[in-house]
Symmetry: D2
Subunit: 246 residues, 4 copies
């Protein structure tokens, strides 16, 4: 049942809205109005005129609710990353930098524990406020600290994800704090960054893969089934590898 | 540390091999040989000559180890599906048909409980043997039974995934056994099937999305960074939606 | 040398402008101004401050200069179509409907003769005015007429292109007016249309191919080489085949 | 009508064969046989049992008939290149290196005159023999010579295409022998090469575009309309630009 304070994903034709259920609130689209008081104690998954109302998923929250000052890690990439990192209930995962917290939110839903490092205070605050607003991340430890300066025991982490402009200076320490065979991912927007990483990584990490992910959406009218006109052509290159013992 | 019986992912140049650590075993590639006895009690993530040896991940096991008689659900799709279905530690998820068990294996890693239905006895046995061989799926209940005939309580499942040739006859029962607002996914190889589904689904489910996912891999030589020559162009269309209360 | 009346393609950073060289004219972008009088009798391919000025190509004219009331056939598709139709200097090619004339303009650059049919008077006028404005198509015969009613001799055309919502009613006549083995192309935005065509074409035409074409553009900054953020995901499905004698 | 010596494109189910019509010849596929004597003086575009027989197009000849020692320029890229270079009946176009002659064959079909340079004698001979075998290229001048050493007048060419591993040393001379505003294309398999070119080109050429082209083919069974399972993921990056006067 919907209740006061729930985060709602409201669809109206092709559009999506993320709203908090405030019983005094409402949503106006074109000539239609959805009064939120009507939703209270109604079953979730409700069709009201042209509106469809669901409980918001994590994907909805990240895409529509997270405030961002940087390029976000898109759910299409985040979902795949979490699996490539082998995230499970008992995994302790390292992330830096935090950015707006989008990947961190996905990791924290699945992992046992997430430690995330960020040196830019604005991002650190942004990510924390995104988490607080949506009640996320009880298992996340936020560090406003340079990963290079952080005191971390050897072989402390089960896996790691790195989203910084130049990951090269971090590779040695990253290698040290990971368990053997641990999976690592990197997000890099440009080919130059990937080339640099590939040139520097091979002594420390193996099983290297570089991949781009594309999602192509379709219009849902059955009589005229066809793809959407445009799509996201690029977010970033993803590099995955695993710690080599040495 | 590697130990007898571990499933290994061995890389040699661009090739991947899934092997069980049998201390009498070995792997020959070109003129190189890797004797498995050497691996015993060595740290995981080992480089031995041109070989790199890791503990196999679930992705490795599905892609290289699962026997199949049907088109497999690829990890690239399976990973995304699990997230779109909102699978978490306490989720009870429904799947039919089981097929070779690839998606089921991914769901079971994340969900609390998976119930999977299959009517073809050969597939049922295949999936079970895939799970047994790799020690997967303690939280999976396999049903050799037509989902339409199964006795299931109303609003029993948190989410569902459907991979059958013609999902239309199953829609009413599917709707009944799902909780309100529950996410559902369908995997359909042809546009004709998608058109049929879209034509029949709208009274029962809302928030419909249709998506294709592409993964494009790159060669990892930094001096000649470029995509692989070929890629998978199609596995299936994925349709996601959520139960509408009515 | 640039001269009065030339069609110019002007680039300024990532933007493109199509302008006619009117010696009294100018182009303002941000704080920069390009006076066209400066260009007169200067060599083509000129860099003036941040502006680059070229003679416009046919691609520039179609993309930036053609007025349209319908979905345009994009140059990426048009170029490929012309070649699949085997258009050469001595080819007599049939097209219907004319639409805004984009494909017709490409065909006419290469073919000996183009006959194009259009039943909607508004499109007929639009295409003609597009051609007149840019001085195109001396070898094009425009027909404001239903192709089905047109009097055309048997085996009159070397090749044909069809861009109408429902091509099925035209197939018999199309077959009759084409030479044996003649290549034919169809442009169809939806999968439903392709399915219909494939269901009806096989007695008359063979060697059938269905293809989608994607162009993915890159940012041209060498220090940060990466794809553009978005791309065109769909214009249309292209169907090619050849007349079967019967 | 088919006649002795014609190049045939024969289709049988999904397969394509390029054969010369030798009246003593035949083609066996599975249990079916097509005797070529049957084709003589029959209309082109013939269906004989499961066989479909057409006159071969240039695309068929390049893809199925050209012998190659290098990576070929694919028709999908070649067609687009010819148009981006603005090739018309009166164009004099420069190409180096010749390679196996695939692009040269496309250019020569459309241009007035093609001058192609190749330094490797094996490639030079290969391209010439490909052209002779299929009776192509009356308007092509083959040079077994280093483009850098060739004596060429200033502003001699209307456009040019460059397919060499490292185009940088050729840029100055290329610029000199082109007319102002002339379009130029480069084919480069790796991102490293593109980055190098972009770093060196900007003083001499403007209007730079970098693009990848993808073709995605579909199975043609109307009841199960869906893409082919695999596709070509990469042939090369195409760089287009135009000569800047300086």
């Amino acid at each position: 049942m919907f209740k006061e304070g729930d985060w709602l994903l409201i669809r109206y034709e092709d559009k999506k809205y993320l709203r908090r259920l405030d019983s005094k609130g409402s949503l106006n689209v074109k000539k239609d109005i959805l009064k939120f008081s009507f939703l209270l104690n109604k079953p979730e998954g409700l069709r009201v005129g042209k509106f469809e109302v669901f409980k918001a998923t994590l994907e909805d929250i990240i895409l529509l609710g997270f405030r961002r000052k940087t390029q976000i890690i898109y759910p299409k990439d985040a979902f795949y990353i979490a699996f490539k990192l082998g995230i499970r209930k008992n995994t302790r995962v390292l992330e830096f930098g935090t950015g707006s917290g989008a990947l961190c939110a996905v990791l924290s839903e699945l992992a046992g524990e997430v430690h995330t490092y960020e040196v830019v205070e604005d991002f650190f605050k942004l990510a924390k406020s995104n988490f607080e607003r949506f009640g996320l991340g009880k298992n996340v430890v936020f560090h406003l600290e340079d990963f290079l300066k952080a005191e971390i025991k050897n072989e402390f982490y089960d896996s790691a994800f790195v989203d910084v402009k130049d990951p090269i200076p971090f590779l040695d320490k990253l290698h040290r704090v990971l368990k053997n065979s641990a999976p690592v991912g990197f997000l890099l927007p440009t080919t130059n960054q990937v080339v640099d990483l590939l040139s520097n990584i091979k002594g420390l990490f193996g099983g290297i893969e570089v991949v781009e992910i594309f999602h192509r959406y379709y219009k849902t009218v059955p009589e005229r089934f066809r793809p959407e006109d445009t799509m996201t052509a690029h977010t970033a290159y993803l590099v995955f590898c695993r710690k080599i013992y040495n």
